[in-house]
């Protein structure tokens, strides 16, 4: 929010906004997904841009909504219109607004960045957050060996197949540890929760934050899953 306002946008959150419908979509429940999608399309009617701080939600709006209405040309057109206006936060800041750096943010630490799957592969988010992070004072970035490999969250996957999910996130956490970073950043809330949960269970000192927190200079707030200070 702060990032968008700094970049000169007027930000609003429609009160009727809820989830994008991914859990239903990925569980094969097309009817429910369509109902939710119609609702989301209504909610965001009239805005120039719809920006999501999570790659998978952004991907849902911009890549998957139109395909839901193949048999309903009027809705399909509206879905396509919304898709064209929908963006993931990092890509919106860099690709649409042309931001090259962030205003005077500071974060003292070594971070590593996890590429969330939908952000990377559906929306092409890779360089944008790194470019912006580069302008954060005090921060250095150490890359993982495979930052683009899935962390094992996968929405309902992680509760339907917890053993596989655990094997995947364990590997991720080893990759994170090997970088020596003290902070893990990513741009998708599902991945962040999953990795934070694993790191904390393992007793790791690595702190987990949404990349936007650091870019907005809010790195002094408690990290994800961290107790309130003071």
């Amino acid at each position: 929010m702060k990032l968008l306002e700094q970049a000169g946008c007027t930000v609003e959150v429609p009160p009727v906004q809820v989830c994008c419908g991914q859990p239903a979509y990925n569980s094969g429940d097309r009817a429910t997904t369509r109902a939710i999608a119609s609702q989301v399309i209504d909610a965001f009617e009239g805005y120039d841009a719809v920006v999501a701080p999570s790659g998978s939600c952004g991907g849902m709006l911009s890549h998957h909504y139109p395909g839901l209405f193949d048999d309903d040309p009027a809705m399909k057109a509206r879905a396509e219109n919304l898709a064209g206006r929908s963006h993931e936060l990092m890509s919106f800041l860099v690709d649409v607004l042309g931001e090259k750096k962030v205003a005077a943010a500071r974060y003292d630490g070594v971070a590593t960045y996890h590429d969330s799957c939908s952000g990377l592969r559906e929306l092409g988010v890779k360089e944008q957050p790194r470019r912006l992070l580069d302008s954060v004072q005090g921060l250095s970035l150490h890359e993982m060996k495979t930052p683009e490999v899935c962390c094992g969250f996968g929405g309902t996957f992680c509760v339907k197949y917890p053993e596989i999910s655990n094997a995947m996130v364990s590997e991720k956490s080893a990759d994170i540890a090997a970088t020596g970073a003290d902070t893990l950043l990513a741009g998708d809330l599902g991945c962040l929760m999953n990795m934070a949960g694993k790191l904390q269970r393992e007793g790791s000192a690595v702190r987990v934050r949404h990349v936007a927190e650091v870019l907005a200079g809010m790195g002094d707030l408690p990290a994800i899953g961290e107790p309130e200070r003071g």
Partner: protein, 477 residues
């Protein structure tokens, strides 16, 4: 091969607890993907070639009957025979009869996934005909009586030590009683043992990577050259291939070969590319006197024209499994049938039934890495989602998932209620977890908290609540 796809979850437990398998998978994960990446980088037109490969396959599938008939005409013109096998049982019967017609006692086979699909070995053995696998990986798993765990590297689940033990056990009766430890020595020993079997074989049976309609050729790529011996030494050569392997021209084959090898192993091309075009001609020095092609449908034609058609583009390169984090965690056997990984998660429900294989298309995070490397651009996550939709329609989705989903969707369609409840949940969660910022156990979330903590909400209430507060302050200002 008998499917154990229904026991996916048990298979997974075994796989995760098998240290040898985990060792082998750790190597596979870095090896294959790194080599593919480098190969793709070295070829500037790689992405454009993938488009062409996709288009060639799409064009063929749209005219499949035409190209198959063209292929058949050409094979017959060359003096060969084409046999149409609608089902696996038909294919088994045709092949057995062909073998019996020449009184065959042994069949030299080079790797064919379709032969696995129709469970050919078991059938031949029951008739007293010994199938001999000549691909090194297939040979190893044949000795161990195991199914393949990967479509191009069937024994990739084994460590070198396991192979050494297997050879010692089976080769000592042939006089090789030293346990070998070096890779090259193992290969040399296998080669020696296999060579004699080639010479003894009455029938050679190979798969095919492509069937070229314009020439009537079957095309096969290997890195061991074993196929060349399977098809030139014996007097009868049988090619077993599924119908979607046909492509129009040699020119098309060239495009597909370029993406195939790079995607599979990162090689520019496989070590051996063999074209078989009919039986031995009068002027040829060697070659089989009989040449037969068995074309298997086994449910594939039913996929044509449906939302699943894209899977028929698959050229069996294995890249999707090499890049799949789920395959990388559990290996190929967990999938329970011939085809593992993402392509298997789409194809297996089609071939053995979605009831049997219902877990496979669900066991994916939809991370999309498979689609991003597939040389013929098959949208694998989308096809897996289609299976989930069909399962949902057929009420195969587990009850717990359905009920949870129904409750959530009821709420998600009622924004005010959804927000009200999430903010209550947020507060309740915060109340319990705020002290140390996380939970190590939560009701209804056992799958999550068994292996990781659930982060407590960050302070300040839900996003909607914070937004409202912010708006309020603004308005007052």
């Amino acid at each position: 091969m008998e499917s154990t796809a229904h026991a996916f979850k048990t298979n997974v437990d075994h796989a995760l607890a098998d240290p040898n398998l985990q060792d082998s998978l750790a190597k596979l994960k870095v090896g294959f993907s790194e080599r593919r990446r480098q190969a793709a980088e070295r070829l500037p037109e790689f992405e454009a070639l993938r488009d062409r490969a996709r288009d060639i396959k799409n064009h063929t599938l749209a005219n499949l009957d035409f190209y198959l008939e063209e292929f058949e005409r050409k094979v017959i013109g060359l003096g060969g025979h084409v046999h149409w096998a609608p089902t696996a049982a038909d294919a088994r019967r045709i092949i057995a009869e062909l073998c019996q017609s020449v009184g065959a006692r042994t069949v030299a086979k080079s790797k064919s996934m379709v032969a696995e699909e129709i469970a050919l070995n078991e059938h031949l053995e029951a008739l007293g005909i010994a199938p001999i696998e000549t691909d090194l990986g297939e040979y190893i798993i044949q000795l161990r009586n195991e199914p393949p765990s990967h479509i191009i590297a069937p024994a990739v689940h084994l460590t070198k030590d396991q192979v050494a033990d297997t050879f010692l056990e089976h080769h000592s009766k042939l006089g090789f009683d030293k346990r070998l430890t070096e890779r090259n020595d193992l290969v040399a020993e296998a080669r020696y043992v296999l060579r004699q079997k080639f010479l003894d074989a009455d029938v050679g049976l190979t798969g095919a990577n492509f069937l070229v309609a314009e020439t009537g050729s079957s095309m096969l790529v290997t890195n061991e050259g074993n196929a060349d011996l399977s098809n030139t030494l014996p007097k009868m050569h049988i090619v077993l291939a599924s119908i979607e392997k046909v492509i129009p021209t040699l020119e098309d084959a060239a495009v597909l070969l370029r993406v195939l090898a790079r995607s599979a192993t990162g090689q520019e091309s496989s070590a051996y590319t063999t074209l078989n075009t009919g039986p031995k001609r009068a002027e040829d020095l060697d070659g089989p006197s009989q040449y037969h092609v068995v074309l298997l449908d086994n449910g594939r034609s039913g996929v044509l024209g449906t939302e699943m058609q894209d899977i028929l583009r698959c050229i069996r390169c294995g890249a999707c499994m090499n890049h799949c984090p789920v395959y990388g965690a559990v290996g190929g056997h967990a999938y329970g049938w011939v085809y593992p990984g993402p392509m298997g998660a789409v194809l297996t429900p089609q071939l053995v039934g979605v009831e049997e294989a219902s877990n496979l298309p669900n066991a994916s995070t939809f991370c999309g890495r498979c689609e991003s490397v597939c040389p013929v651009r098959i949208p694998l996550p989308k096809l897996m989602r289609h299976w989930r939709e069909r399962e949902f329609e057929k009420h195969l989705t587990p009850r717990g998932v359905r009920q949870g989903l129904a409750l959530w969707s009821f709420l998600a369609r009622r924004p005010a209620l959804y927000r009200g409840l999430t903010s209550i949940a947020n507060r309740v969660l915060a109340l319990f977890g705020r002290a140390d910022g996380r939970y190590s156990a939560l009701p209804l979330a056992g799958g999550w908290t068994r292996f990781r903590d659930f982060p407590a909400p960050q302070p300040g209430g839900t996003f909607h609540a914070q937004w409202k507060g912010k708006e309020g302050k603004r308005k007052r200002a």
